[in-house]
């Protein structure tokens, strides 16, 4: 995705981000890698950017999880949340709260769908703006309209 279309998508979809990737592995194995803490710490890292160092997880609906990330500059971020929905090996929905920051509760959804040996993994991260915004969202489309206009003007 190029940055220009990415930006437009972000604006149009308000406070939700959707990312997708195809992986040539069965959904069951990918699901395991995404939810088993021992495996998760092996892949969730990007050279020079960040690295998940620990993951504690009570993988059940209502169960809590907590992970630590080290950033490229050695800065640490703690992210916590709670599992809301688990459908093995297709779906995980959980809350995502950055403890070390402003503690806004956001939601992450992982969808896996397998076809002919290829699994599409989709991440949907929503509620990214301010807390309570979704509850009293009057005027929010206007804000996004302003933002859109501004971004297009300054492209």
């Amino acid at each position: 995705m190029n940055s220009k279309t990415g930006r437009a998508d972000v604006v149009q979809n308000s406070d939700t981000i959707v990312q997708e990737i195809e992986i040539r592995q069965p959904a069951e194995e990918i699901f395991e890698a995404m939810t088993n803490p021992d495996e998760l710490v092996k892949w969730w890292r990007v050279e020079g950017k960040f690295r998940v160092t620990t993951m504690e997880s009570d993988f059940s609906v209502g169960g809590k999880w907590r992970m630590r990330l080290i950033g490229g500059r050695g800065n640490e971020t703690v992210v916590t949340g709670q599992y809301r929905e688990i459908v093995r090996p297709r779906l995980v929905v959980f809350t995502w709260v950055r403890e070390t920051e402003d503690a806004i509760e956001t939601q992450v959804r992982w969808d896996l769908s397998e076809k002919d040996g290829v699994t599409t993994v989709r991440v949907t991260h929503s509620g990214l703006t301010t807390e309570g915004l979704r509850k009293r969202n009057e005027g929010w489309p206007m804000i996004l309209g302003l933002l859109q206009a501004y971004v297009e003007e300054t492209k």
Binding site: V46, M142, L146, L147
Partner: protein, 123 residues
């Protein structure tokens, strides 16, 4: 503001303090329906504080308080003309929201790439 966003790791964590402070101020400013309404009013044209207050049932000092918050977030700019103060909209700080969303977008995109490499190299 954009230049500061390079070398992103986790959203917000890597941005400098001043930048984050500004973003938080913008988020706080637009979280309130009255303040969003004020921005909407100013979208059309500049207005005096009195004109803006005329749109609301609340007291003028209450409206002024909202305006102060919008001003400190940089979303409203004011200009004194004689005895009246004219308020105008400045959409630029809203860019912080865009940057914030883009940071997360990058974070997830990189995370998925990483998962893909791990899974496909495993086989």
């Amino acid at each position: 503001m954009q230049g500061q966003m390079s070398n992103v790791t986790m959203p917000a964590r890597s941005t400098d303090r001043a930048h984050r402070k500004q973003r938080d101020a913008v988020f706080r400013a637009i979280a309130d329906p009255t303040r969003r309404e004020i921005l909407s009013i100013l979208r059309g044209r500049q207005q005096t504080v009195g004109e803006i207050a005329g749109n609301f049932r609340m007291s003028r000092p209450a409206v002024s308080k909202h305006l102060r918050l919008l001003r400190s977030a940089g979303l409203v700019v004011t200009r004194q003309e004689g005895t009246s103060r004219h308020c105008g909209l400045n959409a630029k700080p809203l860019r912080a929201i865009n940057d914030w969303l883009q940071d997360y977008e990058r974070f997830w995109s990189e995370s998925l790439q990483s998962l893909k490499s791990y899974m496909e190299e495993k086989s």
